[in-house]
Amino acid sequence: MADTATDSLTELPLAGLHTELGAKFVPFAGWNMPVQYSAGVMTEHLWTRDKAGLFDVSHMAQVRLPKGALEGLEGLVPADLLGLPEGRQRYGVFTNAAGGVLDDLMIAHRAADVFLVVNASRRAHGLAHLRAHLHGVEEVTDRALLALQGPLAEAALAALVPDVAAMRFMDVAVVDWQGADLWISRSGYTGEDGFEISVPAAQAEGFARALLADERVAPVGLGARDSLRLEAGLPLYGQEMDVGISPVEAGQAWSIGKARRAGGARAGGFPGADVILDQIAHGAPNRRVGLSPEGRAPMRGEVTLYATPEGGDAVGRITSGGFGPTLGAPIAIGLITADTPADATLYGDVRGKRLPARQVPLPFVPPGYKR
């Protein structure tokens, strides 16, 4: 409960609004972020699953590339980007030569440019990586990024900008709201239907207040964002994925388009392609697993996993874990050796005791995407 110095942290454009809403702040990736509001993580989580939660994710890096950059970007990302139609967005990862992951990102093919959203914790790295390989990389620094997530997100956002009701999951559009151009994608990181909205910083507070005036909308902090994405089985960079974990091991091989795979029109051509395509064909050393710990004790990140209640070598570790408010039970995602039997109960070492956890399919909560 020690106070952390906040002097060197970057403030969000909406910091004043968050304070007014009762936010408790924590440092995250160099930003002073609202971790929760007065309602608390549990209530904010359940509200998002039931209604519409408003998240400030302005700490994430927004980047514009020139219209023709998709071809060059395919040299860094194993997604099928030349096959990405205008008006659509796709998930991708930056890979390294060893087949590990440098970061994950969203890539939108827009009428005038290519728009990326990159993790806050990897902002400097991502920008340098892009600039080393591509021309015309422009960091957007004058816009906030909000996410409105939940089954009532469409109704609440459409009350301000009706055009969004026609968007499908992973569509992107530029929509006018009171003279401000909103860059909207129908996406998010909670497993719910919803939108991410890039709004000019000067109009961000007015827009956020207009959303919050809707009784279906409540502010939701970083704490619930993490428990929501965990229930949705969505990977977090630095936990489920990093330089030592391939996209195949992280369960993200689906993001490697058919055109980029062996026998595809543009097979390979991204860093680590030999390693990653071989893993797709012949299997990877490790695999991602969903875990349902028995009992009530959460198993958090870095808990060591075993296949036996005593003795034996470790088979892996928890990469993210905690309590799933929607399920009312502890949940976790782990990374284990690929040869661990899929029906085996695993044992997590929690404070020196091996506690059982069943392997379960991901996600823990079915997605609400509007496809």
Binding site: V35, Q36, H45, G223, S227, A297, R300, G322
Partner: protein
């Protein structure tokens, strides 16, 4: 009622001290989802981590505030961890310690001192 720097409250009755966490601590922790209590008849020393308490956000410990023997634990918290947020200074006591020397409680803060400690 006495208070520790670790945001525990201590209530003395004879040589039995009942221990819980303050409203301030419960608010800081957020929604509590798991509590693990010590075994009764355990001898504990001041500073021993004897309770595990986990919120949605994180795990933390509660330490023994004083030397003694655990004589009772509040099993209701194991079944219903949310009680810690609902009634931290009442029904959500954690354990009772039998102490050899009740006068050792004099070193802890009183309510006014604790309020100063948390900046209220």
């Amino acid at each position: 009622m006495k208070y520790t720097e670790d945001h525990e409250w201590l209530s003395l009755d004879g040589d039995i001290v009942t221990v819980g966490i303050t409203e301030y601590a419960a608010t800081q922790l957020g929604d509590v989802v798991f509590v693990e209590l010590p075994e009764i008849e355990t001898q504990v020393a001041k500073g021993d981590e004897i309770v595990v308490i986990e919120s949605v956000k994180a795990a933390s410990d509660i330490v023994a505030p004083i030397d003694g023997e655990i004589v009772e634990v509040n099993d209701a918290l194991v079944a219903n961890p949310a009680l810690v947020n609902e009634d931290p200074t009442g029904d959500a006591w954690f354990f009772r310690i039998k102490v050899d020397d009740p006068s050792l409680l004099d070193e802890f803060m009183d309510e006014d001192e604790y309020k100063d400690h948390i900046g209220e």
